[in-house]
C-alpha cells in the first residue's frame, strides 16, 4: 500500500472551519437559563434560579459545577418546593396579615416533638387505664381470682357507665406504652372511618384522661406529646368532616365566615360541643375542647375569641402544676395555630402560670416526689418544654415593653430559676444579649438546690451564640460564665454547657481564649475517660471552632487543638472529626500552602482518615475520603522547591497506599511537577533538572503497577510516557509505553462500572486509538527493530482474546493505517521539541518506507480476510460498514494513483453498497467530498475514481 503525501499546513487551512470565538463566561450548553427580571423580583422569594451557592456545594473547584452556577436541577426543585409562591394580595394587606400570622421564624411544634420524646424517657413500668367499650376478650384470670376481687370487678362493671369494661394494663415498658398509644391512634382512625363517631370520642376522652395521671413523672412530657398527637388527629378529623358537610355545592373558601355554613353542619358542630360539655372530668373536657377549638369557626364569628379565655381560666382548676402547665402549653399551641392574633389569652396564660407558680414548691408536689423518688432538679426540668413553648408563643413578635414586663414579674417570684431558664430560651436572643450581665447576676442568685445552674448558663450561652452583647461586656461575661461552668462536677453536665459557650468564645475572641477554653475542656474530660460519653458534644466543639477559624495556620498554632483531637479515641468518631476538618480546609483554603505546621497536622489528619479504610469500607466512603485527601494534595505547593514537593509525594504515597484515587492523584501531581520543571527551564533541562525529571518518571513508573484498575494503569502509563518524552527521557518513555503494551493482554473482557458489569471493548478501543496517536512521535529504539512499538502493539492486539463475533480487532487494524500513513510522511503532523522522531532518524529512507508499506499490506490483508468471513457468516450489515470504513481510510490516507489501491477502493465501495445497508446520506456526502478533492491540482485522478463509484439507490 502506498500512502499519499500530505501537506498538513495547507490542508488545515483549506478545510478548517471558520473559527467562531465562544465566550466561556457567557455561554455553556449545560448552564441553566437564568431569567433576571428586575421588576417582579420580591425579597420574599427564596431559592430563585439565580441564587448562587457554589461555594458550599463542591469540594474542589470543578469546571462543570462552576459553569452550572451552583444550581443543579435537583436542588433547584427542592428550593422551589420549599418556597411556596406567596398569594397575590395587595402589599399593604399582606403586611397587615403578616403581623397576625405565624411566620417561618416561629419554631414549629413538630421540631420540638422529637426532642421531647428523646429526652424524657423512663425505664420504669407504666400503666394505661382505659374504659373501652370496644375491647373484647376480657382478662381470663378473673375467674380464678379471689371472690372479693370478683365482686369488686363486677361492681366496677356496674358502676361503669360505658357498655364496655375497665382495662388496666400494668407493667408496660416505655416502648409498649408508646405502641399502645399508637394502637389507640389507629383505632381512633378506624372508628372514625367506619362511622363510629361515639367510639372515636370515647377513645379520645380515655386518652386525654391519661394526662391527669402523673405516675412515673419523668415520662410525663413524652406522654403529653404522644397523647396530644391523638388529640390533633381527632381535631383534624372533626374539622374536616364538618367542613366537608358544607362543601356542597362548592367547597368553602379558606377564609369563610359562620354565615356561609349550612344548618346541618352547624347542628353537627353544636352537637359535638354539647357532647364535650357534658364530659364529667375536667382534664378530658379541657383537652378535647381545645382540640376542637378550630370548629368554633363554623358556629360564630367570635367563637374562638370567647372560648380561649374561658379555657385559659378553666386550667386554673387543675391542681397539679405539671399537668396544668402542659395543658397551658397545649392551649397555647392550638391557639397559635387557630388564632395567632389572640395575644391576650397567651399572655393571660403566662400570668396565670406565674400566679400558680408557688404550687410547684407546695406540699402535695413534694410528697409526690418523695413517693416517686425523683429529685427536685430533675422534676423542675420536666417543666422546661412546656414553659419554653408558652414563652415562645407569648414572646413571638411581642413588643419590647411586654417582654420587659414579663421579665420583671418573673424576677419578683422566688425560686424563679426555672422561669429564668425558659425566658432565656424563648425570648429574642437580642433581648437577652443586651441584658446578659443582668442575667448572670440573676443566675448567681438562684438557689443551688433547685434548677441546675449549668442549664441556666447553657440557655444563656445559646442566646449569646446568636446575638451579640455589648462589646465592653463580652470579656466579663465570658469570665463570669466560665467561672461557674468550670466548677460543674459532672463531666456530662460540664460538657453540655461548655459546648454551648465555645461558640460565644469563638465568635468574639482570639485563639488565645479559645485555647484556654480547650485546655479547660481537656482537663475536665480526661479523668476516667469521661470523653468517651461525650463524643457528640466534643465533635460539636470542633465544628464550632472550624466555623469561626478558617485560617489553618492559626488553628494549628493553638497548642491545645491537637491534644483536644487526641480525645477522640473511638475510630468512627475520630474519622468523622477528621472529615469535617478536611472539608473546611478544602472549602476555605484559597492559596496553596507549604506551611510545615499545617502540612504536618493535616497529613496526620489525612493519615487517620486513610487508616480507617479496611475491607469493610464502602466504595462511596472510600471515594469521599479520597476526594478529601486529593483536595489536600492539590493544595500543597512548595513553589520552586520541586525536590521538596517530590519528596512530599513520596511520603504521601507511603501514607496513603490504600486509596487508589489518591495514588492516581499523586502520579498526576508528579507528572505535573515534571512539566512544571520543563516550563521553568524553558524546555532545555540542565543536568540537575534532567536528573530530577527522571526521578519523577521513576516515581510514576514504580507507582503505577500498584494500581488495581487496569484502565487507570494503562492511561497513566501512556500519560507518563508522554510526559517523559516531553522531557527528553527517551528510555523512560520507551519503558512506559512498553509496559503499557505488555499490560494490554491483562485487560478483562468486562469491567464493573458503578456496580454494573460492562464490556471493556469500547474503553480498550479508545485507549488503543489514543496510544496509536502518541506512537507517531516516539522514536524507534536504536537496538530494537523498526517500528518496534507499533509491531508490539499490533501483535498484542492479534493475540488478545477479543469477544466472540466482534469486529474490534479489525477496527484497530483500520485505525492503525492512518498512523502508518502519517509515519511515512516527510515531515510529521506534530513533533516534540528537542526530541528527534522517526522522520529525522530515518530521513525518509526507502527501506523504512518499504517496511511501513509491508506492514500496511499485512493489515489490509487481515481486514480483507475478515470481510470474507463476514460474508460467509451472513453478517452482511457489519461487512458493509467495515468495508466502508476501510474505504474511507484508503480515500483519506492512501495514494489512489496506485492502480491496485484504486481497484481495491472501488471494490470496497461496491462491497459496502452491495447489500444496500449503507447510509445513503453518508455515501452522498462522501461522493461530494471526493468531487471537492478532485478539484485540487494533484488530486485529479480522483475524478476517475468518482466515475467508477456508483450510488445505489435504496429503491
Amino acid at each position: 500500500m502506498h500512502s499519499r503525501a500530505r501537506r498538513y499546513e495547507s490542508e488545515l487551512q483549506s478545510c478548517g472551519l471558520e473559527v467562531a470565538p465562544v465566550e466561556f463566561s457567557d455561554y455553556h450548553p449545560l448552564k441553566s437559563i437564568t431569567v433576571t427580571d428586575s421588576k417582579s423580583r420580591r425579597g420574599a422569594r427564596k431559592g430563585s434560579t439565580s441564587s448562587s451557592s457554589s461555594s458550599s456545594s463542591s469540594v474542589a473547584p470543578d469546571p462543570l459545577s462552576s459553569m452550572l452556577d451552583g444550581t443543579d436541577p435537583l436542588s433547584m426543585f427542592a428550593a422551589a418546593s420549599a418556597s411556596e409562591s406567596p398569594p397575590t394580595l395587595s402589599q399593604s394587606r399582606k403586611r397587615r396579615e403578616k403581623e397576625d400570622e405565624v411566620g417561618v421564624d416561629f419554631e414549629p411544634w413538630s421540631s420540638k416533638r422529637g426532642e421531647i420524646l428523646a429526652r424524657f424517657t423512663t425505664t420504669e413500668k407504666l400503666s394505661i387505664n382505659l374504659f373501652m367499650g370496644s375491647e373484647k376478650g376480657k382478662a381470663p384470670s378473673l375467674a380464678s381470682s379471689a371472690v372479693s376481687e370478683k365482686v369488686r370487678t363486677r361492681l366496677e362493671e356496674l358502676d361503669d357507665l360505658e357498655e364496655g369494661s375497665q382495662r388496666e394494663l400494668l407493667n408496660l415498658s416505655q416502648q409498649d406504652y408508646v405502641n399502645r398509644i399508637e394502637e389507640l391512634n389507629q383505632s381512633l382512625k378506624e372508628a372514625w372511618a367506619s362511622d363510629q363517631k361515639v367510639k372515636a370520642l370515647k377513645i379520645v376522652i380515655q386518652c386525654s384522661k391519661l394526662l391527669s395521671d402523673t405516675a412515673v413523672i419523668q415520662f410525663y412530657p413524652s406522654k403529653f406529646v404522644l397523647i396530644t398527637d391523638i388529640l390533633d388527629t381527632f381535631g383534624r378529623l372533626v374539622y374536616e368532616r364538618i367542613w366537608s358537610m358544607c362543601s356542597d355545592p362548592r367547597p368553602l373558601p379558606d377564609s369563610f365566615t359562620a354565615d356561609e355554613v349550612n344548618d346541618t353542619a352547624k347542628e353537627t358542630c353544636l352537637n359535638w360541643f354539647f357532647k364535650i360539655a357534658s364530659i364529667r372530668e375536667l382534664i378530658p373536657r379541657l383537652y378535647v375542647e381545645v382540640a376542637l377549638l378550630k370548629c368554633n369557626r363554623f358556629l360564630t364569628k367570635c367563637g374562638i375569641q370567647e372560648t380561649v379565655p374561658r379555657l385559659t381560666a378553666m386550667i386554673r382548676g387543675i391542681g397539679d402544676p405539671l399537668v396544668a402547665v402542659y395543658a397551658r402549653a397545649y392551649l397555647c399551641r392550638i391557639g397559635m395555630e387557630v388564632a395567632p392574633h389572640l395575644k391576650d389569652s397567651l399572655n393571660k396564660n403566662f400570668f396565670d402560670l406565674l400566679g400558680t407558680f408557688r404550687q410547684i414548691h407546695g406540699d402535695s408536689v413534694q410528697n409526690q416526689l418523695v413517693l416517686q423518688r425523683v429529685e427536685i432538679p430533675v422534676y423542675l426540668t420536666l417543666y422546661s418544654p412546656a414553659i419554653h413553648w408558652i414563652l415562645q408563643c407569648v414572646s413571638y413578635r411581642a413588643p419590647e415593653a411586654l417582654l420587659t414586663e414579663m421579665m420583671e414579674r418573673c424576677k419578683k417570684l422566688g425560686n424563679n430559676a426555672l422561669l429564668l431558664n425558659s425566658v432565656m430560651w424563648a425570648f429574642r436572643a437580642e433581648f437577652i444579649a443586651t441584658r446578659a450581665t443582668d442575667f448572670i447576676g440573676m443566675i448567681k442568685d438562684c438557689d443551688e438546690a433547685g434548677f441546675p445552674q449549668h442549664l441556666l448558663f447553657g440557655s444563656l450561652g445559646r442566646s449569646l451564640a446568636c446575638a451579640d452583647p455589648p462589646e465592653a461586656e463580652r470579656l466579663p461575661i465570658l469570665n463570669e460564665a466560665w467561672k461557674v461552668i468550670t466548677k460543674v462536677r459532672s463531666p456530662q453536665d460540664y460538657i453540655n454547657c461548655a459546648e454551648i459557650w465555645v461558640e460565644f468564645t469563638c465568635r468574639h475572641f482570639t485563639k488565645r481564649e479559645v485555647n484556654t477554653v480547650l485546655s479547660d475542656i481537656i482537663k475536665h474530660m480526661t479523668p476516667d475517660r469521661a470523653f468517651e460519653d461525650a463524643y457528640p458534644q466534643l465533635q460539636s466543639v470542633i465544628r464550632k471552632i472550624l466555623t469561626y477559624f478558617h485560617d489553618f495556620s492559626v488553628l494549628f498554632s493553638m497548642e491545645r487543638f491537637l491534644p483536644f483531637m487526641d480525645m477522640f479515641q473511638k475510630d468512627s468518631v475520630r474519622v468523622g472529626v477528621c472529615l469535617s476538618i478536611m472539608d473546611v480546609f478544602i472549602k476555605h483554603q484559597q492559596e496553596p500552602t507549604r506551611d510545615p505546621v499545617i502540612l504536618n497536622a493535616l497529613l496526620h489528619v489525612c493519615k487517620t482518615m486513610h487508616d480507617s479504610v479496611n475491607a469493610l469500607t464502602l466504595e462511596d466512603e472510600k471515594r469521599s475520603l479520597a476526594l478529601l485527601i486529593n483536595g489536600f494534595i492539590r493544595m500543597v505547593s512548595f513553589g520552586r522547591d520541586f525536590e521538596q514537593q517530590l519528596s512530599f509525594c513520596v511520603e504521601a504515597r507511603a501514607t496513603f497506599c490504600n486509596l487508589e484515587p489518591v495514588l492516581v492523584q499523586l502520579i498526576h501531581t508528579v507528572n505535573q511537577l515534571a512539566m512544571e520543571t520543563r516550563r521553568v527551564m524553558r524546555g532545555s533541562h540542565s543536568r540537575k533538572t534532567a536528573a530530577f525529571v527522571r526521578a519523577c518518571a521513576a516515581y510514576s513508573f514504580i507507582t503505577i503497577p500498584s494500581l488495581t484498575s487496569i484502565f487507570s494503569r494503562l492511561n497513566l502509563y501512556l500519560l507518563s510516557g508522554q510526559v517523559a518524552l516531553a522531557n527528553q527521557c527517551l528510555s523512560q518513555a520507551d519503558a512506559f509505553l512498553k509496559a503499557a503494551v505488555s499490560v494490554l493482554p491483562e485487560v478483562p473482557r468486562s469491567i464493573s462500572i458503578e456496580g454494573k458489569l460492562r464490556s471493556s471493548e469500547g474503553f480498550l478501543l479508545d485507549f488503543i486509538n489514543n496510544f496509536l496517536s502518541a506512537l507517531l512521535v516516539v522514536p524507534d529504539h536504536p537496538e530494537a527493530g523498526v517500528l518496534f512499538l507499533v509491531r508490539g502493539l499490533l501483535n498484542m492486539v492479534q493475540d488478545y482474546t477479543w469477544e466472540d463475533n466482534s469486529d474490534a480487532k479489525v477496527h484497530v487494524y483500520i485505525s492503525a493505517l492512518p498512523l502508518l500513513a502519517a509515519m511515512s510522511q516527510e515531515s510529521y503532523l506534530y513533533s516534540i521539541p528537542k526530541v528527534d522522531s522517526n522522520e529525522t532518524l530515518y530521513g525518509g529512507d526507502p527501506k523504512f518506507l518499504a517496511e511501513i508499506n509491508k506492514l500496511c499490506e499485512t493489515l489490509i490483508g487481515q481486514v480483507l480476510d475478515h470481510l470474507k468471513t463476514l460474508g460467509r457468516d451472513e453478517s452482511i450489515h457489519r461487512q458493509g460498514s467495515l468495508a466502508f470504513s476501510l474505504f474511507g481510510c484508503l480515500l483519506a490516507h492512501g495514494d489512489l494513483r496506485n492502480n491496485k489501491l484504486n481497484q481495491l477502493a472501488v471494490n470496497l465501495w461496491n462491497l459496502s453498497h452491495k447489500q444496500g445497508y449503507c447510509n445513503t446520506r453518508t455515501s452522498v456526502r462522501t461522493l461530494e467530498f471526493i468531487k471537492h478533492q478532485a478539484q485540487q491540482p494533484d488530486m485529479v485522478h480522483l475524478s476517475d475514481v468518482l466515475h467508477r463509484l456508483t450510488l445505489q439507490s435504496r429503491t
Binding site: 391527669s212 349550612n262 344548618d263 346541618t264 352547624k266 347542628e267 353544636l270 360541643f273 354539647f274 360539655a277 357534658s278 364529667r280 372530668e281 375536667l282 382534664i283 373536657r285 374561658r310 381560666a313 378553666m314 386554673r316 382548676g317 387543675i318 391542681g319 397539679d320 399537668v323 400566679g355 400558680t356 408557688r358 404550687q359 407546695g362 406540699d363 402535695s364
Partner: protein, 302 residues
C-alpha cells in the same frame, strides 16, 4: 321488594315553636313500584308521668301509673291507596302547631319521672302479604321566649364544715373555707351557668371539686304528690390540690333535652334545678365525699 320509609324535617335542628308550621317530606325509596293501602302521618305530643317507687312504694308505682296527658294530636292521610312508583319519591307535608282549647305546648323534656315528647309517625299500610312500614321521628318543641326582662341575681356562697348537711361527726372534719358566687340563679337555658369559686384555705389536700346539676320532678296523683330529685349531670371543675385563693371558674352548659325551663302545672312540675358542690378530701374519716347543697336555679328561655 325492600322499600324504605323516612321522614325528613325541613329544619336541621328539628326545633319548633308553638304556632309555627312543622314542615318536611316523607321519602320513600324503593327499587320497584310499591303497592299500598294508604300512607298516613300522625303528629302527637304527650306528657308521660311515672311515679317513683321511692315515694309511693313499688306496687303503687307499678299500677298507679298516671295517665299520659295528650298535648296535641293530628292525623292526616298523605297518599290514598295506590301505587308509589319505583325510585325515590318525596311527598311534602305540613302541620300547623296549634293546640286546642287552653292547652299549652310544653317544652320537650326527657326526665326520669316526667317525659314531654313530641313525635311524628308515618305509616304505610300494605296488603296482607307485605308488612306495614312505619317510621317514627321525634321533634323538639321549645316554648315561646319569655317576655319579661331577666335580671341577673348573683348569689354568694361560702362552704365550711359547718355548712355541710347530713354529716354526723362534724368535729372529725378537717377545716376548710371555700367562697364563691354564682352570677345568676335565674338562668337562661341556652347560656351556661357561670360563677367563680375560691379555695381560701384547707387543712388537707383537695382531691376534686365537682358541680352537680339536679332536677326535682313532682308528679301529682290520687294519693298526693311525689317529689323526686335526680342527678342530671356532674361536672368536675377542679382536679387535685388547686392553688389556694385563686379564683376557679364555675361553668356548666345545660344539657339539651334533659333540662327545660322551670315548669309548673296542675298535674306535674319540673323545676327547682339545684346545683350542688362536692368537695372530696383525701383524709376524711370514712373517705366519703362531702357535699354542700346549694341554691335552686330557675331556668327560662329568652
Amino acid at each position: 321488594m325492600s322499600a324504605s320509609l323516612d321522614i325528613r324535617l325541613k329544619r336541621a335542628n328539628k326545633v319548633y315553636h308553638e304556632g309555627e308550621v312543622l314542615a318536611g317530606v316523607v321519602a320513600i325509596v324503593s327499587k320497584e313500584a310499591v303497592q299500598h293501602q294508604g300512607i298516613t302521618l300522625t303528629m302527637e305530643g304527650i306528657v308521660n308521668l311515672q311515679l317513683s317507687s321511692k315515694s309511693v312504694g313499688v306496687f303503687e308505682a307499678f299500677y298507679n301509673s298516671v295517665k299520659p296527658i295528650q298535648l296535641i294530636t293530628s292525623n292526616i292521610e298523605v297518599v290514598k291507596q295506590g301505587k308509589v312508583p319505583g325510585g325515590k319519591t318525596e311527598i311534602p307535608f305540613e302541620f300547623p302547631l296549634h293546640t286546642k282549647g287552653n292547652k299549652v305546648l310544653y317544652e320537650t323534656y326527657h326526665g326520669v319521672f316526667v317525659n314531654i315528647q313530641y313525635t311524628l309517625r308515618c305509616d304505610m299500610k300494605r296488603s296482607l302479604l307485605a308488612k306495614d312500614l312505619s317510621k317514627t321521628c321525634e321533634f323538639m318543641v321549645h316554648c315561646l321566649p319569655q317576655k319579661a326582662k331577666l335580671q341577673p341575681t348573683p348569689v354568694d356562697f361560702t362552704i365550711t364544715p359547718e355548712t355541710l348537711q347530713n354529716v354526723r361527726e362534724r368535729s372529725l372534719l378537717p377545716k376548710f373555707l371555700i367562697r364563691g358566687h354564682l352570677d345568676a340563679t335565674n338562668c337562661v337555658i341556652t347560656k351556661p351557668l357561670t360563677g367563680e369559686l375560691v379555695v381560701e384555705s384547707s387543712d388537707v389536700a383537695i382531691k376534686s371539686i365537682e358541680l352537680q346539676l339536679v332536677r326535682v320532678e313532682t308528679c301529682g296523683c290520687a294519693e298526693g304528690y311525689a317529689r323526686d330529685a335526680t342527678e342530671i349531670q356532674n361536672i368536675q371543675i377542679a382536679e387535685g390540690d388547686v392553688c389556694h385563693s385563686l379564683p376557679i371558674p364555675i361553668y356548666m352548659v345545660f344539657p339539651r333535652l334533659f333540662t327545660c325551663p322551670t315548669l309548673e302545672t296542675i298535674n306535674f312540675k319540673v323545676g327547682e334545678f339545684t346545683c350542688n358542690k362536692y368537695k372530696s378530701n383525701s383524709a376524711t374519716v370514712c373517705g366519703l365525699p362531702m357535699a354542700d347543697r346549694c341554691d335552686s336555679l330557675f331556668l327560662c328561655r329568652v
